[in-house]
Symmetry: C2
Subunit: 199 residues, 2 copies
Amino acid sequence: MSFSPLIRHLIDSLRILPGVGQKTAQRMALQMLERDRSGGLRLAQALTQAMEGVGHCKRCRTLSEDEVCEICLDPRRDDNLLCVVQGPMDVYAVDQTGFRGRYFVLKGHLSPLDGLGPEAIGIPELLARIEQGTFVEIILATNPTVEGEATAHYIAQLLANKGLVTSRIAHGMPLGGELELVDGGTLAHAFSGRRPIVL
Amino acid sequence: MSFSPLIRHLIDSLRILPGVGQKTAQRMALQMLERDRSGGLRLAQALTQAMEGVGHCKRCRTLSEDEVCEICLDPRRDDNLLCVVQGPMDVYAVDQTGFRGRYFVLKGHLSPLDGLGPEAIGIPELLARIEQGTFVEIILATNPTVEGEATAHYIAQLLANKGLVTSRIAHGMPLGGELELVDGGTLAHAFSGRRPIVL
């Protein structure tokens, strides 16, 4: 036995969501059908509107339905600082920390094996944005993975000799972490990046 | 900073899905927007079709867009056996075991404190279904929770003196379980329900 065609189609469609397998999709589909059909219809409408209406901010390349996003338009932000991240989710994460400069969103990281070179991830647009801006410091906040490091390094090289400070977010112990549990690479970074205690 | 209105609305709408919190909803929304817009649109369409098109089988009350579902129409199934379950998901689970009788789907379990009495969960429809059928045995496969047990007990009382066998699915050790890890109630059931070994 299997579900009826419409339910089966809904279950299959739900599986495009990250982290949703067959069993979770079944539970989602049946729960909506049994308890929250109006919620399901609202979700359908929100999906359609977002998929059709959301584009990219032409200045920072983050996801937005406006031509220029809220952050790029905000006059209270610091035009000296540009934070370069790998995706729109990272903008949200960095902004939670209280950073109040501008952003530039790459399309992921360099990955030559997958055919993703500088053009594919938006490096030319980044350089153009930096040319147009009045930035003093470019903060490279790509992920601390091999690919993220390589991408940051590549951008830093391109920006050398342009009279800009290029910085990389610090690597070290996460707050609340335990030395015995953290991986060796992180601990090595924490040691080499040690700072004098100012009393 | 927060996301643009359309994205925010999509994130809020995704949170009606069971097990999806703020962070997961963000990840789902941004991943669809960044990588799979056509998948997002297909999901929207599947949702609309299912929410508007799926009703309940008038015979067994499971979810189906047909007036009478596939299982109820299948002539190869055993008309002597009726399995009573709490929801459409349980039909799927029981059918996986190879059971080939008929089903009746309650709307959950009795819950007097929440105002869910026999009428609310479909007991009158169950009795009508049994009257119309040619069942010999009614298998009560509600969940092994306090409410599920109470519901099974209530139905068994209603069916007493109708010349039917009323049975309850067995409680005991799950296959592959370990005695030292299982809870006391389950182990007690496993002991009281022990069976002679036939060699």
